[in-house]
Symmetry: C2
Subunit: 509 residues, 2 copies
């Protein structure tokens, strides 16, 4: 695979100067185009052999382009805070916004490759991790990201020569570390791990380019010209697609080859999951009070255990307006120490959030180990309000099912207890509550014109909810449907369910 990158290609000083002059000008123009379009982040990953010029190339790109729109990232061993979240948390956190460029000197590839080289993981575990990378990158590409990956290559012999030459020069010897030599001894293992990376993770949306790293002039020009060519091509393609979509709203083209579209055939019959709920479930005020204080006590004890064991809990609440989500949430927080719980009400995104993948804002809220995070509305907005209100295109919300399942899988793998509640009320009950809100001064604010507008789309929402549950109720993170016509009943069901899930998780650890 790497033979073509061991040809000893070089570019002379004079030619380099000439070509570099034109290239940096073009790169700047490309960067300005990207920035003014403001719809696509550019992610450039560098990996490869030590001494093949990864760092130098990144420095050069920072010099050639406008550094205000570039961030350079390199990941070290995860910190405690990072270890307390799923692995990809730190990658999500740092993603460049639309129009910006992220250069990665070490990335999501580093740990799998290193683990494989050291023999910490089997080949099938390795493949699984590479599959995770593919899902991650596809999800970004589907959202408009342009991803380029460069593998900087140097033959084993060339690497040795480079290290020895540097070491001989007293002024440059600091550039070669003991670790460099340690890695050099594992060259062959490293190369075989690399080969697999390139074979498995070079997709249409995020391809690898192998670069011969021996000659600085050659590799700089090659990387620069490839960036230019790829981005220009991609931008042209995106503009054409935008135009095509404008003319034909049903225009559909897959950005990545990854996620399988799930065609839904449920919910065609009149009996749906929601319509089969027994909405007459009730609870007396006396039973409620007794049960509430009992469950809060249980929850409090369970949470202290979970905290000690570092088991996090993530609850999310979805439901129609006035379904009683807030009330149920407050009955839970009242049993917990405020230091260890965060309620995240999901309102309109800020501009920083809008400039990223829609999942970005949820990743940024993940709590440390052992804590409770409660989302009042959540990432499911993508397949509910954004679907019904057409803020997201059909292509976008359809692929969200797979993206969300992937996200939740990562939470589950990190041993986070995830419970998803759909608090359901029927249409009559909503009307009763709306009317009660209208006449109660301190509840009036909760009722907006939007609530009435949403109500008109009741059937569309119900369809969306049924589809959502159909596609995202998985073994690891099932949906809990809560009969919400009786507030007292639903609050108890919610807190009891949380206790059950948490208790089960504690038993399994």
């Amino acid at each position: 695979m790497f033979r073509t990158a061991e040809l000893g290609r070089k570019v002379g000083k004079k030619e380099y100067k000439e070509r570099a002059l034109i290239l940096r000008q073009q790169l700047l123009e490309m960067q300005q185009k990207l920035n003014s379009r403001d719809k696509n982040p550019l992610i450039i990953v560098f990996a490869g052999v030590d001494g093949a010029g990864k760092g130098e190339t990144v420095n050069l790109l920072n010099e050639w382009m406008d550094p205000r729109w570039i961030t350079t990232r390199a990941y070290d061993t995860p910190t405690q805070e990072e270890r307390e979240r799923p692995e990809y948390w730190r990658f999500w956190r740092d993603l460049p916004a639309n129009g910006k460029i992220g250069l990665y000197l070490s990335s999501w590839y580093s740990r799998p490759v290193l683990d494989r080289v050291k023999g910490n993981i089997s080949l099938s575990e390795y493949d699984e991790q590479l599959q995770q990378i593919i899902s991650f990158e596809n999800s970004l590409v589907d959202d408009g990201a342009i991803i380029l990956k460069f593998w900087m290559h140097l033959s084993k012999g060339a690497q040795k020569v480079r290290f020895t030459t540097l070491e001989k020069d007293p002024k440059q010897s600091w550039r070669v570390t003991k670790q460099d030599w340690k890695h050099w001894k594992k060259y062959d293992k490293f190369l075989s791990a690399a080969e697999r990376v390139i074979m498995r993770t070079s997709t249409g949306g995020s391809p690898w380019h192998i670069i011969e790293g021996g000659d600085a002039n050659y590799r700089s020009l090659t990387v620069g010209e490839m960036i230019l060519e790829s981005v220009d091509k991609k931008l042209l393609h995106l503009e054409q697609r935008d135009a095509a979509r404008l003319n034909n709203p049903n225009f559909s083209e897959r950005e990545s080859d990854s996620s399988t579209t799930i065609t839904t055939n449920a919910n065609q019959s009149s009996t749906t999951l929601l319509s089969s709920l027994d909405m007459s479930n009730m609870l007396s005020k006396k039973d409620y009070k007794q049960e509430l204080i009992k469950q809060q006590g249980i929850l409090n004890k369970l949470h202290r255990k979970a905290l000690a064991k570092g088991i996090s809990t993530l609850l999310l609440f979805e439901g129609a307006d006035a379904a009683g989500k807030g009330g149920a949430i407050r009955r839970i927080t009242a049993a917990l120490d405020a230091r260890n719980v965060q309620v995240i009400p999901i309102a309109a995104p800020t501009d920083e959030e809008k400039a990223h993948h829609y999942l970005w804002r949820f990743w940024r809220h993940l709590s440390r180990a052992g804590r409770f995070t409660i989302f009042d509305r959540s990432w499911y907005g993508r397949v509910l309000v954004e679907r019904v209100e057409k803020f997201a295109s059909e292509r976008e919300w359809r692929r969200a099912y797979a993206e969300i399942n992937d996200f939740e899988n990562q939470l589950a793998e990190h041993n986070i207890v995830l419970v998803k509640f759909w608090v359901h009320i029927d249409k009559d009950e909503q009307l009763t509550r709306f009317k009660a809100r209208e006449v109660t001064p301190h509840k009036k604010w909760k009722l907006t014109d939007e609530d009435w507008r949403n109500r008109e789309k009741w059937d569309e929402y119900e369809q969306a909810v049924n589809d959502m549950i159909e596609h995202t109720s998985t073994h690891n993170s099932p949906w809990v449907l809560v009969e919400g016509n009786s507030k007292l009943y639903s609050r108890i069901k919610v807190i009891k369910t949380v206790c059950e899930h948490l208790s089960r998780a504690l038993d399994n650890r």
Copy 2:
């Protein structure tokens, strides 16, 4: 001090219901006013005796008001990532944005009080930390924040009764922990530490209110009504002030009584710091190359030591357009491992940033222990471009000197090596460079209309720079003035200076 909070005041059920109904309605209106005005965050700190209802009050406020615009914070022992930054980093990070409300269940007061109760710090150390709090709060108040602080009180006897009653009820006993009893034994020490907090840190801008915590009805109404009254009064005052300013641009009123305005009398003569620089300093290309590789080697070794010892370095670069800041920065990063260095180019703030105190965006970029953070332009924009372009009022940029000194002191106390560079070129040299940029294709982008406009204000900028250096060049963090007419000379001076500072810091540890 707390005698008036031991009167046993109570509110009956019926009266509570009536008053609460009105109150929550008014609180909602207040919240909406705050949110639509969108200029002031509201910070409410709760502290006091365990069992006096801090948590319950916060839960109640979350129920009464619109939780989408409220965040509740409570701070535990700092995490590793937090310990690697100055103490206030985590408080800055979490500050509510304009129009939003932050409720604090434990806050910047917790650690000093606890340290004092445990006898870990002397009285004068305690006072120093309280002084730090005053600076912090004043800086927020000056920026428009409304701060309210509630001390929830319970007598030693009442606290004991409460704990015992709860413990007797099997369903409520989980509410009392061993730690509660441990704290109870230290009640007297705690109270004397508390008294000092309230005496020292109750300022006009952020006063303490002592609340009798025994009766839930009484304390809930009292807290709620005090919030309402204080915020309404403050908002009215702010609106009047805004109107007064509109009519009279020179209108000036001190928000806090804290920071002393420094009247500047320097720079009235024709000899200024900048004009006294020897701008003829130069370096030959050969000497430059030799010296550069030598200094990069020294820097690399120093930084590895600093990394091992956890000593962070923070460099900031200011200078006229085309002064060569970027070039100097790249010579430094080239000597460092990209994993351990972040370059932060300061461009226009995002909307999340605009909705906070101007220092907020810099706090959020502080790196972990041992790393290099390089700011290309910095918080000094407040007293340079914002002053000259009148984005900040005179009152705002004048008080920024003290705020910046306070910020940098916190960095110094955290043993961060801070070096501030002013890269200086004279007016002729700038013209030469502008003209060169105009004809070099890959440099043309660097030259904008704004650069030409800034140039017209050369004298105003020079005045601002001289004032800045005069007010913010302190013993701990002096300004380094770099003669920049020769790029080669200035790059070497910069990297050499960094090495000197870092080396000195390493010797002292």
